[in-house]
């Protein structure tokens, strides 16, 4: 249907897809909080939340309700506008990255080819980098606007940490780009569908990417910006009610998105072995592909939690040394080797 030279079905389809992806990331983030507490409990030989609903499944709703009804406090000497802007940016940026991730192959409904990716832009990885690096503004603005020394210290830590770890992350990805020759996430997945998963060619690159993803998400062992026992909670120290909730929630969404990204870049995304030999219909293929991606993503989310409850936090100088003196040289070496191999292969 084309009216006023706008393809309205295309618009509806995209709006539905965007809402779906948004709801999915919110729900996954919500249940990550539950999962986090369960995993933490199990690792520490406890049971974890089990009172609200069966297996404590209503716990995230109770937590959310509690956060909504808490008193909202804005410190007198804070910058009111920036104080509200901080968590808003954190949340907005966290939700934006999901736009370029291909959730599944195309499906056909009533003769229309629908791509299950909000935007198949040819600069997908660049887009993610651009948006992710904006996430630090939320933390920085929130920490600075609080007018509290601990918040400020935490946001300075966050800024330098994220900048330091973006470099090896980018370098690790450059090696991947040399291999695939494209920035579009969809094409990267399609290449892995035809051949082997990228982690086979880029194990070191994946390891560097994984470590940097931990640092970018402010997760333990790199959770210095919100070190509870050093900075009283870090950049969200002065926040209460749902603004605090947004900061915490943004972290879980980031975790979900970076897990999905790792699955997409290195573990075949929605592709799973022998998917083209099963003889499934196109829609079934998309559905199973989505499930495959989802399982991979959940595994990485679990991995994030598993690491968090195993490894203690780094000291700040150790963090910086690891970033600049270990990961960047390693990533550079990885890039050089990949480049040399690619050059030899093409000649």
């Amino acid at each position: 249907m084309t009216l006023l030279s706008i393809d309205w079905f295309f618009l509806i389809e995209k709006i539905l897809l965007i809402s779906g992806v948004l709801v999915l990331s919110l729900v996954v983030a919500m249940y990550s909080t539950w999962g986090e507490r369960k995993v933490a409990a199990w690792i520490q030989d406890r049971l974890g939340p089990n009172r609200a609903g069966p297996m404590g499944l209503l716990q995230p709703l109770a937590d959310g309700g509690k956060l909504f009804f808490k008193e909202e406090i804005i410190p007198t000497n804070s910058n009111r506008f920036l104080f509200i802007l901080g968590p808003s940016i954190a949340m907005l940026v966290a939700c934006m990255t999901s736009a370029v991730i291909p959730w599944a192959d195309t499906i056909t409904i009533a003769g229309r080819q629908i791509s299950l990716q909000v935007a198949d832009v040819n600069i997908g990885i660049l887009f993610i980098f651009g948006v992710v690096s904006m996430g630090v503004y939320g933390i920085m603005i929130g920490g600075w606007a609080s007018n509290n020394k601990f918040s400020l210290l935490a946001s300075v830590r966050a800024a330098s940490q994220i900048i330091s770890y973006e470099l090896p992350m980018g370098l690790a990805l450059i090696a991947l780009l040399m291999l695939t020759g494209t920035l579009s996430l969809k094409e990267i997945v399609e290449q892995q569908r035809a051949g082997l998963w990228n982690v086979v060619y880029q194990p070191l690159g994946f390891l560097i990417f994984l470590i940097c993803a931990f640092a970018e998400c402010n997760r333990t062992p790199f959770d210095l910006p919100e070190a509870e026992n050093e900075l009283n909670g870090g950049y969200h120290l002065e926040y209460s009610s749902m603004k605090l909730g947004f900061f915490l929630f943004a972290e879980y969404i980031n975790m979900f998105i970076s897990s999905a990204l790792m699955a997409t870049l290195y573990f075949g995304g929605y592709a799973y072995p022998w998917m083209d030999k099963l003889g499934l219909s196109e829609n079934m293929l998309a559905l199973t592909g989505f499930l495959a991606l989802f399982i991979k993503t959940l595994f990485f989310i679990f991995f994030f939690m598993w690491v968090r409850w195993t490894i203690p936090r780094f000291r700040y100088d150790q963090l910086m040394r690891l970033g600049w003196r270990v990961l960047i040289p390693l990533a550079l070496a990885n890039m050089l080797i990949t480049g040399a191999v690619e050059l030899l292969r093409h000649h």
């Binding site: 199990w42 520490q44 030989d45 406890r46 049971l47 195993t310």
Partner: protein, 169 residues
């Protein structure tokens, strides 16, 4: 220097080897340990549904005992109150009237007998001091309450049910 025990272990201060500096094997080992704990038996007891067995000498809330005919054993001698290190027990004595022989075993009885469970330290000295086997400590503990005055247990809270009048219980 001579060590006092043979348990002391010298600290290994050798510089780390390359494998140790990589940290990855150590991290993998640690993650293996946490993964093992993921499937281990949990230490938690889901309290209201499951209760742990008390030890044989557990000292819980007090009860005031009756004899075989359902008469109160307490004679309000005050020895428990004297023995109590927390001074949680107070009582008032009264004389048994003719016709009350089925209620009280001896000529003197406690008209009022109160134990403040907030003061009580559950040491069990009252139980030991009682010459009439009237005070015993049971296997229950004080429940949570919203007000302090609920924790002052009177005779009606402490006396065990009369075996004569409430038979079958």
């Amino acid at each position: 220097m001579q060590t006092l025990t043979n348990r002391a272990k010298p600290v290994d201060r050798r510089p780390m080897t390359f494998m140790e500096k990589m940290y990855i094997p150590a991290i993998a080992k640690g993650m293996g340990i946490t993964l093992k704990h993921l499937f281990q038996r949990k230490a938690t007891v889901s309290f209201p549904e499951k209760k742990r067995q008390f030890s044989a000498v557990f000292r819980g809330l007090h009860v005031l005992n009756r004899d075989e005919e359902g008469r109160e054993r307490c004679t309000a001698c005050g020895l428990c109150a004297v023995a109590c290190p927390a001074e949680a027990i107070t009582m008032e004595a009264a004389e048994r009237k003719p016709g009350e022989e089925h209620l009280y075993r001896e000529e003197k009885y406690a008209a009022r007998y109160e134990i403040n469970m907030l003061r009580c330290i559950f040491c069990g000295f009252c139980e030991e001091a009682c010459p009439k086997d009237a005070v015993y400590m049971s296997e229950t503990f004080a429940p949570a309450m919203y007000e302090r005055k609920g924790f002052i247990y009177g005779k009606q809270d402490l006396l065990i049910p009369n075996p004569k009048t409430s038979s079958g219980k």
